[in-house]
Amino acid sequence: MDASEGRGAAGPAAEVSEAAAPPSEAPPIKPPADAPPRRGFSRRRLLGAGAVGIAGLGAAAAGGYVVSDARSGARSGGSDTAAAIPFRGTHQAGIVTPAQDRLHFVSFDVTTESRADLVDLLREWTKAAERMTAGEAAGALGAVDGPIEAPPQDTGEALGLPASQLTLTIGFGPSLFDRRFGLAAKRPAALVDLPAFPGDDLEAARSGGDIAIQACANDPQVAVHAVRNLARIGFGAVAVRWSQLGFGRTSSTSRGQATPRNLFGFKDGTANLKAEDASLLEQQLWAGAADGTPWMANGSYLVARRIRMHIETWDRTSLDEQQAIFGRFKGTGAPKTSADADSAEFDDFEFDTVTGASEPVIADNAHTRLAHPDFNQGARLLRRGYNFVDGSDGLGRLDAGLFFLAYQRDPRKQFIPIQQNLARVDAMNEYVKHVGSAVFACPPGLSRDGYWGDTLFA
């Protein structure tokens, strides 16, 4: 599926047909058993390949075909956690792609003042990203085949590792749309600066940024390798503003996945948008040309929040109170309104149910009630957050929490009202603190020859 089909002048009709089509990030097609062997220099094949002669290098350097060939060869079943996820498509990979196990998220400040340099970087990044998501080295000469006097083009720590379903997803922050690059008029209305929420304790050094890249993979080494190499390519044009490692995905973005647990030990985000909900995704996840920002059609808006959890005080809280705060049972994840014995996570919440004392079973300030679509004009999010533990904080407490990532069609109608609701009264607020915050416009997926951001910089 070529992204150009769904781009640009595509009217509502085109959008409807897109909606009916399976999402481009659906499990990729397995190659036939007799598929030709891959050419080029696979990261995973390099170790066994031994010394590669000059002729081989020339061939690798000469051809874009190496990349595309490697990509098509790399396709395999979506359930194969080592496989490659296609990089190009109508939408960027890494949004409805079944959430991988690990995350390295990075936010950059653009340091160059030249628009041309920035576009050059985006092109360079696109090449490297496409290579790495296919399981290749960041540069054509890889980690060991370049001239010995030069630093290797790839840092090498992912040599021998498979693609591990690596996805790299780019987003542009509000600050990019200032005067520097002539983008002010292209800033989407939906890319608002988030308002100050009650209780926020934001650190500038963990917030904002001109450009974000989300790297998700099933192997942390692969995700870190990708970010490290992209950062390196970016030296001189961008500087890392902050980054966040995540493990233990806290949400599922596909019905094939179970809802995992956050560091409070609870299932959360059960009502998450899922890859299979095609029409809901069109409604709530993907921006459309008609939203007022044509270059964002088939893109999405990302809100990132670093939510520190007061783990130690939570762990001293009774089970009863913990369950009351969530409005769920800790064991099954079922709503507190379900019969404890045979209830299940996906039971409907019955928010009107009251106890004998006429108290609602799910309290007015329970987390699930406040976050539920029923109390937010039906607004939903596609969450793909991760747990984090960044060691300890020097006071002997875990520096841990949830790195919340949520994609949506319009933060003004989705994340912001939901978070305003939560920030005001959520019983969980006593145990969490939002310390980092950022919002990004994630452009559509890439056409065959497209580069990251081409619809914006066109």
């Binding site: 001239p147 006097e149 030069a150 050094a205 001189g236 500087a239």
Partner: protein, 379 residues
């Protein structure tokens, strides 16, 4: 990679360091075919007048007369501050001669009263026929040019270390503190060369935690701690003498070592690595917090090595040269913003945001610098 010396060796020898006073009776062997006389350079504490600014390609002789009150130096720079020739230590009232071969091109003559700063510069235009240099000749000239730079730095290093040591031994703490970052400037500019001589570098420049068990901690930083922390250098006489002796040995070796062009390239990168790991973190001068002096010196030393390689880089990868120029300038701009009357702000007075800016600029410069060696090595 072996560099063979070209047959058309560019004689850039620093001949003519004739002793002062005896004026200009020229020893014109090297510049015999030069029409017109030597170029007179009238140097004072505030001016630097050249008798001629349009020269013919070939060998030129400069005669520098210092009528000022400060010791001065004279340099001829090519583009990118590549040193074509230099004469140092021209005391008040002295006249010295510099003979240098200049192919057609644009140059600058510079006096440096007080041996500091960029110098008082005058543009020089050299026209006429000049042989173009082959690759090997170019690279041989690169190492020769860089070695002239090393020589200029080591001369000042000895002078300033001697003053520093004298202040320490005189128990003049304030004076020693003032001289500490100055003496180190010359050290830090040529650090990749200086640190290539076994344990001389650790003896001279080790930080407290770098000292191997069983080894005595000596050198600049040991005295730094006594100056700033214990505030007592009364027992440091022997340490100071040892420092000067070690520095002298480093200088002797630095001036005789034969460097390869690849070593220039790697040294240029190594200096910025020093900045990234030692200066940006404030580790280097952890007692005096004069890290920005070292930072500046490392950048200058790196720039000097790149300047020496410039003709080769221009031929082979002009885009890289352009990028290096831009990135060097960006780092320098940040450093300039932190200068004070007598040098630089203390590291401890920098904000986290300023340190981040430095780190970003250094990363941006180091990445293209890391590409230089491969360009130099390519055939």
């Amino acid at each position: 990679m072996r560099i063979s010396r070209p047959s058309t060796v560019l004689v850039l020898a620093l001949v003519g360091v004739t002793l002062a006073g005896c004026g200009s009776s020229s020893d014109d062997k090297a510049s015999g075919d030069k029409k017109g006389g030597p170029v007179s350079v009238a140097a004072t504490d505030t001016s630097c007048k050249l008798g001629d600014t349009e020269l013919d390609a070939g060998t030129s002789t400069f005669e520098i007369k210092n009528t000022g009150s400060k010791v001065t130096e004279f340099y001829v720079y090519a583009e990118g501050d590549r040193i074509m020739g230099e004469v140092e230590n021209i005391g008040p009232g002295l006249t010295r001669k510099l003979i240098v071969e200049l192919p057609a091109g644009s140059y600058q003559g510079a006096c440096k009263p007080g041996m500091k700063g960029d110098g008082l510069r005058t543009a020089l235009k050299v026209t006429g026929a000049s042989e173009s240099l082959g690759t090997d000749a170019q690279l041989a000239e690169a190492t020769a040019s860089y070695q002239r730079y090393v020589k200029s730095q080591t001369t000042a290093l000895i002078a300033k270390t001697t003053e520093f040591v004298a202040a320490v031994k005189a128990n003049d703490i304030e004076k020693a503190k003032a001289l500490f970052p100055v003496a180190r400037t010359y050290w830090e500019r040529i650090e990749p060369v200086a640190e290539s001589f076994g344990d001389l570098d650790p003896r001279t420049d080790a930080r407290e935690n770098d000292v191997e068990p069983g080894t005595e901690w000596t050198g600049f930083h040991r005295i730094e701690k006594d100056l700033w922390v214990t505030k007592d250098v009364s027992k440091d006489g022997a340490l100071a003498d040892q420092l000067l002796k070690d520095v002298q040995e480093v200088v002797t070796k630095s001036n005789s070592v034969k460097l390869s062009p690849l070593e220039l390239a790697n040294g240029a990168k190594g200096l910025l690595d020093e900045v990234a790991t030692g200066k940006i973190t404030g580790e280097e001068d952890r007692y005096s917090h004069t890290d920005l002096w070292d930072f500046q010196a490392n950048v200058e030393g790196s720039k000097a090595a790149i300047a020496a390689l410039r003709p080769t880089l221009e031929d082979r990868n002009p885009a890289l040269v352009k990028e290096l120029d831009t990135r060097f300038a960006a780092v320098q701009k940040l450093l300039d913003a932190q200068t004070t009357d007598d040098g630089f702000k203390l590291y401890t007075d920098l904000t986290q945001a300023e340190i981040k800016q430095f780190a970003t600029a250094v990363d941006a410069l180091s990445e293209p610098l890391s590409q230089v060696a491969a360009v130099v090595a390519q055939k």
